[in-house]
Amino acid sequence: MQHNKAITVENLTKRFGNFTAVDAISFEVDKGEIFGFLGANGAGKTTAMRMLCGLSLPTAGKATVAGFDVFKQNEEIKRNIGYMSQKFSLYEDLTVKENIRFYGGIYGKSNAFIKEKTGYLLQHLHLEKEANVLVKELPLGWKQKLAFSVAIFHEPEIVFLDEPTGGVDPVTRREFWNMIYEAASNGITVFVTTHYMDEAEYCNRVSIMVDGKIEALDTPTGLKQTYHASSMDDVFVQLARKAVRSDG
């Protein structure tokens, strides 16, 4: 299917009973863009992301991911996206290699593809020696990098990262972002939620959600100008203060 935008969202809404978690949000994400999706806890980020990944059915509105309709073409979307959740998503009792092979396998990749790509990946992550080590033996930073590599192993069009760097030290976070840039330069669109405002600065464009609505959407530089702020942190605090909903 021909499409120019990686993601298009129009008045996308999700209600749980009387509670409107996501309130008619609209935005577009370009191909190869790193799109930051920010918001306080309970602002509706995760719900919005879950709708785009096909984990949750929207109540109203329109959205396409990789050119496919979130209402009707769930299966096609799943084949074209990668996903990394805030919870650590590899199997601790499997070795590094087994984890990679498993994820390659469930995406239906051929053995030849898996073998070649595994070799490249291990070399790239400097994990050749650890290939047959159980994942639980690895330090957290390595696990996160491995999890990201696994999420884009099947070469998806878009990768969704839900707070991928939680609990990781600044150096590793930096390395992690280098990997994100590398993926983006290979044409993968990156859709990332984060709590770290320094990370927001790394994004091409950033949206900030407050109480289920998108309050601001621009480049980090643009946002700082609009809100007369010196950093993204300031921008975020100014917007988040308007929130009526409490945490959770």
Binding site: C53, G54, L55, S56, L57, E75, K78, R79, I81, Y83, M84, S85, Q86, K87, F88, S89, L90, Y91, D93, L94, E98, R101, F102, Y103, G104, G105, I106, Y107, G108, L134, F160
Partner: protein, 368 residues
Amino acid sequence: MKQFFSFVKKEFYHIFRDRRTMFILLGMPIVQIVIFGFALTNEVKDSKFAVLDLAKDANSASLIQELDASRYFDLQSNLTSYADIEKEFRKGSIKLAIVIPQNFANDISHLNKAQVQVIADASDPNVASTLTNYANTIILDYQDRLLQGKKLPYTIETQTRMLYNPQLKGAYNFVPGVMAMVLLLVCTMMTAITIVREKELGTMEIMLVSPLQPLKIVVAKAVPYLLLSMVNIISILLLSVFVLDVPIQGNIVLLFAESILFTLVALALGLLISSAAASQQTAMFIALVGMFLPTVMFSGFMFPVENMPKPLQVISNIVPAKWYFNIVRSVMIKGVGFAAVWKETLILTGMLLFFLGMAIKNFKIRLA
């Protein structure tokens, strides 16, 4: 299909890398058979008894001799007064007391009517009634021998034959019971736990975002446990035939097919539990309290269902293990064919469809 096999392979890694799980899965059936076969037997052997022999004549002596010689009884003490009987029971040193009145021999030979009093400790009613039955039988045998062909004018002689299990071995009852328990534990509890674990770890979300269909995930989760259950069925059957001498009378293929049917019911229950439970502990608790206890209590394996109050009998009907237990007992011990167990099979099939339908429905709801 490749996706599916990748998943099944991963499940086997999980199982084989976790020694505790491995032990539960493959060791438990063996442990249970051994425990039930050698330790927890409800057969009565060498029960201690005491005698208050007020007659002290040739007949009383040989009757006591008979009792002591049987494999059910062991003479503990010769008492001298009625008060001693009570004392011995209170000490717990005997299970049964026999009182032989004065003039025992005289009564037999001249009145044709002698009495023996059998006193049992009925604080355990089952054991008490078993013991008094054994004692009665031995005493009647003794009487027959005394008569030696002299026919009494009118006697009704009952000839009892214990069909299918002539030696009244407990193993005939608990082998089917252990099979039901093991399959239920392995399939229901382990499947529930393994799915809930993925939910807890967050990997389930990753699976749901992947192109792998939910139904395939569920089936792939269940397949390893189905295979392991078959290994367990085989090991239980081998143990029961070669170690406990419980023969398989019926068609082994039918027995196996019925076992697989029950395994599938157990797997469906596990899936259903996993969709309701949020943590591994909850899943385990539901599986133990909701599945294991009813199985032990209502399958007829420990307590006969026929003796239960009506409401409990009705409840026992919804316990899948009850039907499976009946099937195994019929096919394995009695050696009957499918014609005799079609009703139970139909009920299990119905349960399977119901639980599976519910499980799949609930699994999908979580996606919406």
